[in-house]
């Protein structure tokens, strides 16, 4: 996963404040959190920064797939093992006769399921990392053998 520092090193670092932030590092963090877009940095679109702009687009592309919770699934890495499905506390609470006991989900209110051999996230809104009372749950990332699940 890209870091704020890597993003910062590719910005013009003019500290022009056109993005609304006092420093380019603050913009870098906001880009990582998806609170700002690259369009919010006009100096970046000067032709002399074309290479850096392309690199930034490449680095930030995976974040566009991330859900509102910041969850990203790298399908090509997923084993389809179902560890995340079974370990997810929301899955367990909402699906006591399915995910909780190691079977495929029987409830529609689960966050994670395995479909076509890889994990999918049909209900990201139910995730504990989302919403006003969000907490830093990492049950799915901690149980993944291949880092197929990440959070932004």
């Amino acid at each position: 996963m890209v870091s704020a520092l890597e993003i910062y090193q590719l910005l013009p670092t003019a500290a022009c404040k056109e993005c609304g932030y006092a420093s380019c590092m603050a913009l870098a963090v906001a880009l990582l959190r998806r609170e700002k877009k690259l369009d919010d940095c006009p100096p970046l679109f000067d032709p002399k920064y074309a290479e850096k702009l392309n690199k930034l687009k490449e680095l930030l592309a995976p974040l566009e797939q991330a859900s509102e919770t910041g969850l990203i699934i790298h399908a090509e890495k997923c084993f389809g093992c179902g560890n995340c499905v079974v370990a997810c506390p929301v899955n367990v609470a909402n699906d006591p006769t399915g995910s909780a006991v190691g079977l495929g989900p029987k409830s529609d209110k689960v966050i994670l399921i395995v479909e076509n051999g890889i994990v999918m996230c049909p209900n990201p809104d139910e995730c504990r990392r989302f919403g006003p009372n969000k907490i830093l749950c990492n049950a799915c990332t901690a149980t993944c053998p291949s880092k197929a699940i990440e959070f932004v």
Binding site: C81, G82, V85, G102, V114, E115
Partner: protein, 397 residues
């Protein structure tokens, strides 16, 4: 293939959608649609009847036939295969011969205690993966049974209720998930066992990082219901000295409660071993020539050197076995009964296509923990199952 919660919708030539299939299972279902075998004699396509007739002709003339494979066939097919091997007074062996057989035999004869995978889910508080990497070999093992699910006595979740231990020579995918990972040098499992037993006797271990070994010994000792899942890493390390593991289990069970479930690689290895044990008193490596004999001369590695005909059922020994053995088999007359193309079917004198079990043909299998599971076909197929093909060959020889 033996997971009971799989849902699949198929369309022409592909899977439309599936649920609860791991990546391995997805691959298995996708195998329906690619590289399927056709009936062949010496590489030239023919009809199924002619291929069966040719196979029967070759077998009638054979001096020292060998029947090999079996782990990817149903119990019904395995039983028919044993009947055919008896009729032709041939040797018969399976993939467990150089694999999990050495442990499976102990489990089946009761010299190593075992249990059901559902018992693991319901009761196990310590799961030990010794020389095995289920994340790659049995992807749903941890989520369905051995670490992550709740069970009747394990209600609080894996982080409170269970310990997962991995003993391996490298940082495998499974070891990244378990807080109790012990890395040992290759081939040193016997020394580790000796060290653990020394600690049990109140002595300091003379192997590895002492603190880590003592921690491991403490975890093992405190288990209410421990299960060891040995893989090929342990088996190939101990090889013919498996009595070291027997002794370790016996001593461990004097102070704790441990079961063993060998990590069988194919879905019905145990089925063949159980049938053979009932039929002959041995799980594999049997010759039916002039009575019934058992011994290493009948295992595929040795028998390959002397067999003139080898019938391979649902297996690919030319890829899976050492070159010398594969070379010997390739020089014999190979009869391959297989739904899919492989190196073995490429080299075979006769190829007889078969239906894929669980997809195109139904049957029964015995899971690695001894549970008998029946499966029905999910699509119609004109292809005959291994059982039906072997029955036709019996009638023709």
């Amino acid at each position: 293939m033996l997971c009971e919660d799989i849902e699949v919708a198929l369309k022409v030539g592909a899977i439309e959608k599936s649920k609860n299939l791991c990546r391995k299972g997805q691959g298995h279902f996708q195998a329906l649609f690619t590289e399927r075998t056709v009936p062949c004699i010496e590489g030239i396509e023919t009809s199924e009847e002619k291929a069966i007739a040719k196979a029967a002709e070759i077998l009638r003339d054979a001096d020292s036939p060998l029947f090999y494979g079996w782990s990817n066939s149903s119990l019904e097919a395995q039983k028919t295969g044993i009947e055919l091997a008896k009729k032709l007074e041939s040797k018969i062996d399976d993939t467990s011969s150089f694999c999990q057989g050495i442990l499976l035999e102990r489990v089946l004869k009761g010299t190593l205690p075992s249990c059901a995978l559902d018992d693991v889910r319901n009761f196990a508080d310590v799961s030990v993966f010794w020389g095995s990497d289920p994340s790659n070999s049995h992807p749903r093992h941890l989520s369905r049974f051995s670490y992550y699910p709740r069970g009747s006595k394990r209600q609080k979740g894996y982080d409170q209720d269970r310990n997962c231990v991995v003993i391996d020579v490298r940082k495998s995918s499974t070891s990244k998930l378990c807080s109790n990972y012990l890395r040992i040098p290759p081939g040193s499992d016997a020394e580790l066992i000796e060290a653990l037993l020394a600690i049990q006797d109140g002595k300091m271990p003379r192997f590895g990082e002492k603190k880590r070994i003592i921690e491991l010994a403490t975890i093992l000792k405190k288990a209410e219901f421990g299960v060891i899942f040995p893989g090929l890493g342990l088996i190939y390390s101990l090889t013919n000295k498996m009595e070291i593991f027997d002794g370790f289990l016996a001593k461990l069970n004097a102070i704790s409660n441990y079961k063993v479930i060998p990590m069988g690689g194919h879905y019905n290895t145990r089925g063949f071993n159980e049938l053979m044990l009932n039929e002959t008193g041995y799980i594999n490596q049997v010759s039916f020539k002039n009575g019934m004999h058992h011994g290493p001369e009948n295992d595929v590695i040795n028998a390959a050197k002397s067999c003139d005909v080898c019938v391979v059922v649902g297996s690919d020994p030319l890829s899976a076995l050492p070159f010398e053995t594969a070379h010997s088999l390739a020089k014999s007359k190979l009869i391959a009964i297989d739904p899919r193309k492989s190196l073995t079917t490429e080299a075979a004198s006769v190829v007889i296509p078969s239906a894929m079990y669980g997809l195109e043909a139904g049957g029964t299998a015995i899971r690695m923990d001894g549970l008998k599971i029946s499966f029905e076909p999910i699509i119609e197929s004109d292809l005959l199952s291994d059982e039906e093909l072997l029955r036709r060959i019996i009638e023709a020889v």
